[in-house]
Amino acid sequence: METKIRQIIRQCKLGNIGSFATLVTHYGGRVSGIIYHMIGYSSNTDDLAQEVFIKAYRNLTHFRETAKFSTWLYRITVNTVYDYLRKQKVRTTIPLDKTGPLPVPETITTGAQKAELKQLLNRELQKLPLKYRTVLILKEFEGFSYKEIADVLHCRIGTVESRLFRARNSLLDKIKKTNWWRDYQ
């Protein structure tokens, strides 16, 4: 697949925009997923995904073919989200339908418990410091390995471990205090 990707990139560098469609189709899901989880389910996900791919195409001349395209693309994705959040000056983004107090149903079923706990989890996730949240999202939601995360974020594997450890602990400490967690046990 990497060989095919490189061939497509060479064609794109020669001005063949149509070839880029293959890359957008192949990586669009993952790029959108990363953005979606990092900015907290905002409706701006599609706008940012579009911006990521436009940036990638415009900077293809700077992409060294010895590197992995996916790593480079995901790095652009993360940096684009960072820029977006900086401009928004938003540390947490909670959708309107998730800002209210957790409803307490009359009868608590296992499914309802899990759903409410997930809602709380997502809310707390958005409150994590950005560098911890990024690592957690890449690991738990996107299934990146430690090495892949380190390559995308341009840091050491030890740093990834440390941030992931703190992110998990922080989330656990928050949700363990809730009744939902106790009932979930």
Partner: protein, 151 residues
Amino acid sequence: MLNRYLDHILAPGEEVNLQEHIRICPQCRNRLREIEQLQELLGTETAYEPNPFLWTRVKAGLQEPNSVPGLFPLPVIIKAWVPLAILIILLAIFTLSRIPGVENQSLYHKPQSMETTIMQIPGTPENLERITINLLVYGNGMPGKTLDIFN
């Protein structure tokens, strides 16, 4: 260590040791279970469905000017050095033109023609002659020079 164990990045020896420790340590056992449950919750998160028209949007954005990479694009480092190189060359030309002895038509005056008139000055005992030489100088609008020689 528990995180590394769950992510399967421990060395085989370390893994065995940790498993043995978890077996006898209830605190670590509980913590491990909690992290596993957290991972389970996070793992059940619904995957985001990308916009099916993402390529259409990207293509529309790329249609704008300066979106297409050049056929023979110059690396950024070369583009940055080009204006600087031009500036250095201009500076060198200007500096060299100031060095004395360097032939430069704008500073070296070559008379293109010469007009000579000789007039006798009346009333002078030695019949002095006034010789006027007009040098018409070329270049840069420099005025001519008039030399008066009394002979």
